[in-house]
Chain length 149, copies 2
């Protein structure tokens, strides 16, 4: 029974990793249609989640070197996705703001991701869809509780 | 009913994204115990999946600039995780090989990931665990079919 349990954990770990990989792979294909790269997408998400980040905070969040993030933000600024803004209280500090075009691109990407998933899920019956949703809800809640420990 | 379906898709998209984010976040904490960074972990996984990759192929796989990947591999070579090897047939081509230490670190990371998931899943009953596994199997299969189209 303990062995059976171990096999289940291994299988769920493998399935979660593979599903996440396919979602990421398909996500990359979607991004290429919107002319932004995966690091630009990650940066946009981070900058919308945490308002007015500094370059240093963004480096930490993305686990990338300062020179890499400088190049990234240069290109994103050129493409009108973000802008550098001086902090009102401390003019030495530069903060990053997402521009309207950045927000719009991110929304369109999310819409395309949902459309992809709708295609995949259309093969499920309503009870199967509910089972999937409930299972995901359950593991999500357990993970959130575990994070809080 | 169509509206109900749309809500389900949105919820499943959100749950999958959040679960993947928590898995990634927890994965980062695990990596920090093994003294490797997320880009190093991604590079190790890519290099074990595809044997004898060139630097150019690794750049494409990781969506990172050539200079960034050169720095990354320099550090990984210094830490004895990978090595650069000249191609036997074409001495101008450099290929990347994972060293024993790299394989061992990756195995230990995977073991720690499974231990984390075992903790999370220990709160589930056996039928709940089976339901989660079957749901993940089902969406995984649908995604694999969709990729092949």
């Amino acid at each position: 029974m303990a062995e059976e349990g171990e096999r289940s954990v291994e299988e769920i770990e493998r399935l979660l990793r593979h599903v996440a990989n396919i979602v990421r792979q398909r996500g990359r294909e979607i991004l290429s249609q919107f002319d932004i790269t995966p690091p630009q997408f990650n940066a946009l998400q981070a900058l919308i989640r945490n308002q007015a980040m500094t370059m240093g905070e963004l480096c930490q969040e993305l686990f990338l070197a300062s020179s890499t993030v400088t190049d990234l933000i240069d290109r994103m600024e050129k493409n009108d996705l973000v802008q550098r803004v001086r902090d009102e209280d401390d003019r030495r500090v530069v903060r990053l703001q997402v521009k309207d075009k950045g927000r719009k691109v991110l929304e369109e990407v999310m819409r395309a991701r949902r459309a992809y998933l709708a295609t995949v899920l259309s093969a499920l019956s309503v009870p199967e869809c509910i089972r999937l949703r409930d299972s995901l809800k359950q593991i999500h809640e357990l993970m959130v509780v575990e994070v809080g420990r």
